[in-house]
């Protein structure tokens, strides 16, 4: 079975517990204004625009399909800048068996693997296939990094085969959520509650965007919600950063640190050590 992969980071210390291989899948079902890797959002429509800006001849078009030559690429990311489709010429197809082999070849170095994206759960079939095969042959754990917008069937299948979820909550207020992401948070909050009742909700992540979702009241509401749902899930508070952002949000400044600390202190009161700081 094949999957669409934007990139594989072999050694990640920030995608779950321990040292993990992070696999970023292509495609998303939200369109967040502050997305840091917008090139993972959509599939390529082979419009050819990126061809024109590549100074290295790393891109070509064959039978109407974009072809990417990694050897020639110098990583300037000009191609990503001009892509108006929120896509990338660099993502690739990979068979699950091939990915499984890469993972198992490095088993002794890893605590586990993490699927991220994009919204990785859009490729649940692929994930389940890879995870089942990896688990047959190793003790590696599998984590899912998700925006929470997962249909019931996929969610249940994932719950039965992975070891943890890291879920973004973009906003508590539905209007804000719609504004920031383009979709309602109804399913997200429903899934949050459902996952919190399993032992799999490793952490919830919340990005503070100044003037949009950063009222103390909203963030505290989320902290209380998590506190009442279970006794283990961590809440990671992340300051907005303009790095990589493609929409007009790229002009917003780095989130104010003082404000960050005030909000953090508030949620610390609620969640104690389960409240995690990020710089």
């Amino acid at each position: 079975m094949k999957g669409y992969i934007n990139k594989i980071i072999e050694n990640s210390f920030i995608d779950g517990p321990g040292n993990r291989m992070a696999i970023f899948l292509q495609g998303c079902n939200m369109g967040c204004l502050y997305c840091h890797n917008p090139e993972t959002q959509r599939m390529c429509i082979n419009c050819g625009r990126c061809l024109e800006v590549c100074s290295q001849g790393a891109l070509s078009i064959k039978e109407g399909k974009i072809n990417y030559n990694k050897q020639k690429c110098i990583g300037c990311d000009r191609c990503l800048e001009v892509c108006s489709e929120f896509s990338s010429p660099k993502y690739f197809e990979m068979q699950s068996d091939e990915l499984v082999k890469i993972i198992l070849d490095n088993e002794i170095f890893l605590d586990g693997i993490t699927f991220s994206g994009g919204e990785c759960t859009l490729q649940t079939d692929f994930i389940v296939d890879v995870v089942e095969k990896v688990k047959q042959k190793s003790n590696l754990t599998a984590f899912i990094d998700t925006n929470g917008l997962i249909n019931e069937n996929d969610l249940n299948r994932l719950i039965s085969c992975v070891d943890g979820f890291m879920m973004d909550v973009k906003a508590i207020d539905d209007n804000t959520h719609r504004f920031l992401t383009g979709v309602s948070n109804e399913t997200v909050l429903k899934n949050l509650k459902l996952l919190a009742k399993t032992d799999l909700l490793y952490e919830v992540r919340y990005v503070l965007v100044e003037g949009y979702n950063d009222s103390v009241e909203q963030v505290k509401y989320l902290a209380e919600l998590i506190k009442n749902l279970n006794d283990y899930t961590r809440l990671v508070l992340i300051p907005f950063r303009p790095l990589g952002v493609k929409t007009y949000f790229k002009n917003l400044p780095l989130y104010n640190r003082q404000k960050y600390d005030i909000i953090y202190d508030e949620i610390y009161k609620v969640l104690k050590d389960r409240a995690i700081k990020k710089d």
Binding site: E10, F13, I14, P17, G18, N19, I108, F109
Partner: protein, 494 residues
């Protein structure tokens, strides 16, 4: 530099001048006796004695048995066996001034955690901490050379923890520190603390205790850059073979293996043995040193070291393959090392009683003036493959070396938030056969050059022409220019 140039140089201080003048005096003698063929190899730079001097009068590296010294005291020094923390710290500070080496500074200052632990309860906790701090500051100030090396572990001790805590606070390049690490003997919590400190200040090294113990026995120390040698012993000399230059002498790969290598490695052993013999028989080192008379060193624990470097370029020259990126390149690498080891072992090592009569094998980390040639059996800076492939490749190459081999792995700052993840990699590296694992972060104030640390701010001072206390800063600054040290692949995570 001639004598006048040394004396009038404004870039070096008094002590360094005295050291260079001694070397200049030594070099007025002719070089130890060598065959014509071997002299040619030295002249061409295929072999290099790393400026050890023409007529060596002390071993390059000495690892005195400090535990014995602390137990018995020293008649020569007039030091009685210490009874409390004050006396032990004083005794150590005294003996360090009397340990000869190639740099003039002791390259090994002992297994300090174990030594100090026994005296910890003779004073209050606060006093113990102050005394250890004083000792560490004293070492840094009086032995300003980043090859001065301290060992801790594998077991956790209170003293070991205090040493790491204070070093973390002092943030100095001196001393170099190694943690003998063993998954069986080192508590996870202590190992994690050491890793945390290493991510901040570039030390300690993680030394594969199980592997080295199997080679040298329990009683070994890590000295200078990362040389593993027996305690109470050391190494007379270190002469190195430039594999890149040697490969340029060969018609092809076969010629290299069958003719060039046996020829130059024989010469390598010849230089080493001639130098070792000179130290023992002409300079009569063991007859004059109080360390020997009082049993703090014993010729039976000594050896010599045959170093090699430039394996990466050697394979590139002969086969056009890139080590770390080609399985085939690795196979050639193994064949080359097999051959060198075979030739070394076919020679008798003069006075190499510490390593079964054979010369020790060492992956030499390069020196400041090396240009375009990679240290030891490492992968060229900037060309490192994925960290896992780097470790897997080098793990297979480390197995050949009994007297020192290491590599440096640079992480970005996210590693500091996930020491569990870092430990996973260290454990995997140990399992893969890596003997000495150095970790550094890309934004660290202390930069690991090849086998020693320098402060970023000192490099800047040196480049501005200021005279500095630490002799290794000069080496570091030159090495950064010549070896692109700062271009090491950072293990980035986004």
């Amino acid at each position: 530099m001639n004598v006048f140039e040394i004396i009038s140089n404004t870039n070096i201080d008094y002590k360094e001048k005295r050291h260079l003048l001694a070397l200049a005096a030594e070099n007025t003698l002719s070089y130890v006796n060598l065959s014509v063929k071997t002299e040619k190899h030295l002249k061409k730079g295929i072999l290099c004695d790393i400026f050890e001097g023409h007529a060596p009068y002390r071993p390059r590296y000495i690892l005195p048995d400090y535990e014995k010294y602390i137990k018995n005291g020293s008649e020569y020094l007039g030091i009685k066996p210490p009874k409390d923390m004050y006396e032990v710290v004083n005794a150590l500070m005294v003996i360090y001034q009397y340990v000869p080496s190639i740099t003039g500074y002791p390259v090994y200052v002992g297994q300090l955690d174990y030594i100090l632990e026994n005296f910890l309860d003779t004073v209050s906790e606060g006093e113990a901490r102050n005394l250890i701090k004083m000792l560490l500051i004293n070492i840094e100030k009086t032995l300003p050379d980043a090859f001065v090396h301290m060992n801790i572990g594998p077991k956790e001790t209170r003293a070991g923890r205090i040493i790491l805590e204070i070093e973390r606070e002092l943030k100095k390049a001196v001393p170099n520190i190694s943690l003998k690490y063993s998954k069986e003997e080192t508590p996870l919590d202590f190992a994690k603390f050491a890793a945390e400190v290493a991510l901040e200040i570039g030390k300690p090294y993680f030394v594969n205790h199980e592997e080295i113990k199997n080679l040298l026995g329990e009683n070994y120390g890590i000295a200078s850059c990362y040389n593993t040698l027996k305690i109470g012993g050391g190494s007379y000399t270190l002469v190195r073979l430039n594999l890149k230059k040697a490969s340029q002498e060969a018609k092809d790969y076969r010629d290299f293996i069958d003719n060039v290598l046996p020829n130059v490695v024989d010469s390598l052993c010849e230089v080493i043995n001639a130098r070792a013999k000179f130290i023992v028989e002409e300079a009569k080192f063991f007859e004059t040193s109080f360390l020997a008379k009082e049993g703090l060193i014993d010729i039976n624990n000594f050896t010599s070291m045959a170093g090699i470097f430039g394996l990466y370029e050697c394979i590139e020259t002969l086969k056009g393959l890139k080590l770390g990126h080609d399985e085939e390149a690795l196979k050639y690498g193994e064949e080359i090392l097999d051959k060198i080891k075979e030739v070394i072992d076919s020679n008798e090592g003069y006075g190499c009683f510490g390593t079964d009569g054979k010369i020790g094998f060492h992956a030499q980390s390069g020196i400041d003036s090396d240009i375009d040639v990679t240290a030891g059996v490492r992968i060229k800076i900037g060309n490192e493959p994925s960290i896992y492939n780097q470790i897997k490749t080098e793990g297979r190459l480390h197995k050949y070396f009994n007297t020192g081999v290491s590599d440096i792995y640079v992480f970005d700052k996210t590693a500091r938030q996930n020491v569990d993840g870092v430990m996973k990699i260290i454990d995997a590296a140990m399992k893969s056969g890596i003997k000495v694992f150095a970790l550094n972060t890309s934004d660290s104030e202390l930069i690991r050059i090849t086998g020693y640390l320098v402060k970023r701010s000192d490099i800047e001072k040196y480049n501005r022409g200021e005279v500095l206390r630490e002799d290794t800063v000069k080496l570091g600054a030159e090495s950064i220019k010549n070896n692109k040290t700062l271009d090491r692949r950072v293990r980035e995570v986004e």
